[in-house]
């Protein structure tokens, strides 16, 4: 049994390293992204083996789902011809150099330029380049060896903070220790994290309204699929939010699943009506952070310390904050997927 588990672990570890290497070294960007998605899938299995089902849930929703969709959408908006292996005829690389693919380009000088500028080391000069790469490999090997040595010399038994968490779990309002840490003991982490999400969205929106591609008609199959799947996604998001109090789950996992529902909706061609993309959307986006801050301020005014919940209210407060956070995380991630600020107000 233990032997089999070790074999499983070793195989998984090897596959992770190998996939990461192939994803990063592949000359074809699309292939790199698919390999990266597979990498995310295996990461979720690694979290399972490390007894971290909460993280596995987050990784399943984000690493294997949302990140892949984000990368694919961004790649589609880059110039098509800058990546190959993409049609009915695989483009064969010219001999001698498998990096630069030059095939007769139509009208687009920019893309031709891009094609000749496939990934290449940052120094132009051949000899300097070899020296640079050699130096880089040597110094990175030294770094890896140093980090590996540091890891291996750590004591093999170190309970960390698990005993302190277990000791005060009773008063936290929830019985899942990870949720207790996220929403109670280190609630300020989560508070700031919601701020980071919002900042990322501000960054994307600051580029203004980018004219969007017209979505073609989804067709009956995709339409039906989204109609069947989106209610399940929303239901599962609610389930994860609720179950997070006593079992793996919680606001982040629920929010990511909700975001997946939003992404599927956007991909089917649905857009938020311009009546709602102004204030109503913004209120939902800041709801998570807003509720959190209000709770924190009220508790301080009542004489407590920052985010120190009275044990009798803790469960209700955590559920309130988590519900708002789930909604905000879901909508923010879906808005990030859209990649630009939606048009607001009356049509110009």
């Amino acid at each position: 049994m233990t032997l089999l588990q070790s074999v499983f672990d070793a195989l998984l570890g090897f596959a992770l390293l190998w996939l990461a290497w192939q994803a990063l070294a592949s000359p074809d960007l699309f292939k790199g992204i698919v390999l990266f998605i597979a990498f995310g899938l295996l990461m979720a299995l690694a979290w399972v083996r490390l007894d971290a089902p909460d993280i596995a849930l987050a990784e399943a929703a984000i690493g294997a789902g949302l990140t892949g969709a984000l990368l694919l959408a961004a790649l589609a908006r880059l110039d098509k011809s800058s990546w190959r292996g993409f049609g009915r005829t695989p483009v064969r690389p010219p001999e001698g150099n498998n990096r630069d693919v030059i095939h007769p380009s139509k009208r687009d000088t920019k893309s031709a330029h891009e094609k000749t500028r496939k990934p290449k080391p940052i120094t132009e000069n051949g000899k300097g380049q070899a020296a640079f790469c050699g130096l880089l490999v040597v110094s990175l090997s030294a770094l890896a060896a140093g980090l590996g040595y540091a890891v291996l010399t750590l004591p093999s038994q170190a309970p960390g903070l698990s005993d302190s968490v277990a000791a005060s779990l009773e008063a936290s309002g929830v019985s899942n220790p990870v949720t207790a840490v996220l929403l109670n003991f280190r609630g300020y982490d989560t508070l700031l994290e919601l701020g980071v999400l919002l900042l990322a969205l501000f960054g994307v929106w600051s580029f203004g309204v980018v004219p969007e591609r017209r979505e073609s008609s989804p067709g009956p199959v995709l339409d039906r699929l989204s109609r069947l799947l989106i209610p399940w996604l929303i239901l599962v998001a609610g389930y994860l939010l609720w179950v997070g109090a006593h079992a793996p789950g919680g606001a982040f996992q629920a929010g990511s699943v909700l975001a997946a529902a939003g992404v599927l909706w956007l991909l089917t061609g649905w857009r938020l009506d311009t009546r709602f993309s102004g204030w109503p959307l913004r209120i939902i986006l800041v709801a998570g952070l807003g509720v959190f801050v209000v709770v924190a301020v009220v508790l301080i005014l009542m004489g407590g310390r920052l985010l120190e919940y009275p044990p009798s209210f803790a469960a209700a407060l955590i559920l309130l904050i988590e519900a708002a956070a789930t909604l905000s995380i879901g909508i923010t991630l879906a808005a990030l997927f859209l990649g630009s600020r939606p048009e607001t107000g009356p049509q110009r």
Partner: protein
């Protein structure tokens, strides 16, 4: 070998691989992938080391940090991708200029 250390070493390997790719590749999408791989490596080290609890449930604090980290990583990736598309729209290339643009 103790699985905690096995996965921690895999994490170190992922971090180094990602750093190498980040330095060597010029295309911004590859750099974004590389940073994501590095982040996965860091998360793996954190969570692997959190299992050293004499058979009891692992330390939940690193778990909470990693969950936060995963969500931060995906939002940062989305922002980075938007920036990359912006660079592409301005310069026609999805790479950073080697010398400052006039």
């Amino acid at each position: 070998m103790n699985p905690a250390f096995l996965y921690a070493l895999v994490g170190v390997g992922l971090f180094t691989l990602g750093l190498y790719a980040l330095i060597v590749h010029a295309h911004l999408l590859r750099k974004i992938l590389a940073i994501n791989v590095m982040a996965s490596g860091v998360f793996l080290v954190l969570v692997a080391l959190a299992t050293r609890t004499q058979g009891a449930a692992p330390d939940p604090v690193p778990h909470a940090m990693v969950i936060t980290g995963i969500v931060v990583a995906v939002s940062a990736t989305a922002l980075a991708l938007a920036l990359m598309l912006r660079v592409r729209a301005e310069t026609g290339r999805a790479e950073l200029a080697e010398e400052p643009l006039e």
